[in-house]
Each structure stands twice: as C-alpha cells, then as structure tokens.
Symmetry: C2
Subunit: 216 residues, 2 copies
Amino acid sequence: MKSPAARKLTPQETEKLSGNCLTVKFKKGDSIIKQGTYSTNVVYLKRGLVKIHIEGPYRVQVVRIVRPPSYLGLPTTFGDKVNHYSVSAIEECEVCFIDITTFRTLLSTNSDFSNQILIELCKGELESYNKCVNRTQKQVRGKLADMLIDFSDNIFRADSFVLNITQEDIGNLVDASRESVSRVMTEFAKDGIIEMNGKSLTITDRPMLNNISRNG
Amino acid sequence: MKSPAARKLTPQETEKLSGNCLTVKFKKGDSIIKQGTYSTNVVYLKRGLVKIHIEGPYRVQVVRIVRPPSYLGLPTTFGDKVNHYSVSAIEECEVCFIDITTFRTLLSTNSDFSNQILIELCKGELESYNKCVNRTQKQVRGKLADMLIDFSDNIFRADSFVLNITQEDIGNLVDASRESVSRVMTEFAKDGIIEMNGKSLTITDRPMLNNISRNG
DNA sequence: GTAATAATGTGACATAAATCACAATAATAG
DNA sequence: CTATTATTGTGATTTATGTCACATTATTAC
C-alpha cells in the first residue's frame, strides 16, 4: 500500500507522517479537493479511484483517473496557494490529508524521498503532454481505444472491469460529446472488440483496440 | 539572468555548476534536445527563445514556447531515460548543458534549490493542464487570442514583438491548420485587433483580444 | 541577382463530430 | 412499489474547421 516515494521514508518518518495525518473516507461523488479553494494539504490516496477535473470555459475537463497508492494535489498545492483543479471520488475512497508543513519538512530532510517525488511529478507531466497530444489529434474512436487501454493496463490492470463513471464523464475525459461516446461504444461492442453489460466491461479483442488506438 | 531556482544556490555551488557545464550556442531551427535520444543533461537556457515539441500521431504538437532564464528538459530528463519531447531554437540561443549527476547532487544537498525546482515543475504542470483545456475546448479564434495574450504577457512582455515562427508552427501550437491560422490572423488585422507587417506584430486592441479569448 | 524553395492568402468542398430532439432504459428516493 | 430523476441510445441537422488546389509573396542559396 506504499507508493514508491513513501518507501523511501525511514520508519520514524513514516511514524511521524501517520501521527500528523488525518484519515478520511469519501463516498462516490464526494469532492476531495475543490478547485478555487485554498490548497493547504497534500492528499495521500490509500484506497479507491478518483478523478482529477478542471472547470473549462464550456464544460468540465476530466484530466485523468488516478488509482491508489498515490499522492494527489502536489502540482496544485505547490504550484499555487489556490487549487487549480478538483479531485473527486468515483467510488468509495480512503485518503490521508497530510499537512503541507509536515510534507515540506520531509522533502527537505529526506533527499531520497524528495527525489522520488520529483520523478513522479516529472512522469505526471510527461503523461499529461502525451494525453493532450492524443486528445487533440485523434478522433473519437482512437481516443476511446486509448482510454480503454489505459484503464485496462494502468488503472484496473485487468481485461474486465467495472466502469463507475457515466458516459458524460467519459466524454469529458476523452473530449467528445456524450452522444459520440455512446455511438462509438456500441460500435465497439457490435464489432466484438468489447463486451458490455451494465457498468461492467470486458475487452475481448485487444489487438484490434491497439490498432484503432494507433490509426484512429 | 538567474532563474528563481538558481538564486537559491550558494556562490560555491554556482561556481561548481559553471565549472561542470558546457555553454553552447544554437542558431534558429537547431535541435537542442531531441525526442527519442537518451536524456543525460539538464539544459539551462540563458538567451534566446525555444519551442518544446512532441511528435504526435499525425503532426507535430508544439507544447509551448519558453523564454530564458529557464531549465529545460527537467520532466523528460527525470521522468525517463529517453527524451519524450524535443526542444529547438526558434532564434539564436545560448544554453548550458548541465550534467545530470551534478544537478542531482545540487538537488540532494540544497533543499531550497530542490524546493524551488519542485515549485517550477508544479507550475509547469498546472500550466500544461490549462493549456490543454483551452486547446481542446476553444475554437480557433479563441485559441489564437490566447496565444497572442500569452506571447504579449509572458514571452515577449510587450505589445509589439517579432514572431519568429511560421504559421504552420502557430497552427501546431494552438491545434489548428496553417490555413485557419492565416484566415483568423488576417481577420484580426482587418478588425483592428492586431497590426502585422512581415514578422512583426502589434496588439492594438487588447480588450477585444481578452474578450475573444473568453468567449471564442 | 536570379533561380529555387519556403511561406502565406483565399476560395471551394468535404467531413467528423457537435447539437438538437426525443424515446427508452436504469437508478434513486420517498 | 411507484414516481422521479439520471443515464443511455439513435436519428436528423448543423457547423467549424480541415483538406485540396492554386495564386502570390517572401526567403534562401548559388
């Protein structure tokens, strides 16, 4: 249950962190970090999936889905006094609110830890560059294929999973309208690429999905 | 000429950095960091503008324009062994190649420095989130207005500046075709929002530009 | 200074996907 | 269990912008 960064901490530091942090449960839909409010905490996600989302000029943009274990809100907490994005639970979640001062102390005293945090931030930025390129250059089929691959490989780590988000959310994640998402998903199902019943989804033709991701 | 992070260094550290770094000049169009090659250096941009760009599935995406002083390639150097994006000079540039080991040592010994680097990374990530939202949600007029405002406020810090990039580059920066860029720019000029002759451009109606950025 | 190449301007046309409209189904609350 | 609300499916229509084609103007190279 420890993130790569958390593994760099000494037992004493881990102890200190646990003492200075507040564990809270959130249920589906609850807001964990809210855009526009003061950013005073780093959030450590222990259990449950969350979505990071930004209020765009016309609609909400879902930046990404994050699985535990992970630190949430680093860019928004260190980058500005005010949160630039929101984080919400998409299923029951358990998180730790870590006081920013405690976190800063750890960063300055444990260079292995701060190095690991730096690496994770860098990876996040690279990923966001890539996601943005895909979002702006591919068309809906390709973007949805990308999303399904990402879910299967990185978020759920399985070919079958339960999609706890609405098609509108999916649309906001891949930059497409709710209707287009619906159309393409049924198309995928008809073509035998995925199987859906209710909220659960199985990828049945992964090679084809890879192909659509590349050429769609 | 020092970045906020560089100001956190002690005179000895600055000395050590200068000793372990190689100053190189690049001319317009030259590649400073190349996507796909091994990432072994952090680059400190001393003089000249550069563009960060990524090879997308169909065309190049210009991620952003960066002005000195600035560290380049932090995400791509710390995030992976291989560069995930390219950096090219858009005018004559002077840069320092800093060996990654030297840079790592600085990070682990000077926590003020590493904290400042962390902050800059976070700001970069927030900015890239915002840029992506704008790119995907606004239409061409709005995106171009955004770009002009960004150039005027952050890059050139003046109402008049010389645009050393082609309309194709602009298109790749704001996600539009070269032709659309041409059409909208002449439209802006016709409407008295900007004045262009050759490569030099002046913003003449900033309020209108802000307005287009908000509603376009 | 002239040829060759690159960059820009503009019209006509094609097209992916948004929007609108409404029916059908699922989820939630009382 | 029924009513209400949220979510999904699907057709018809509209629209912003990409693509193609070609003329015009800069820029670069020899």
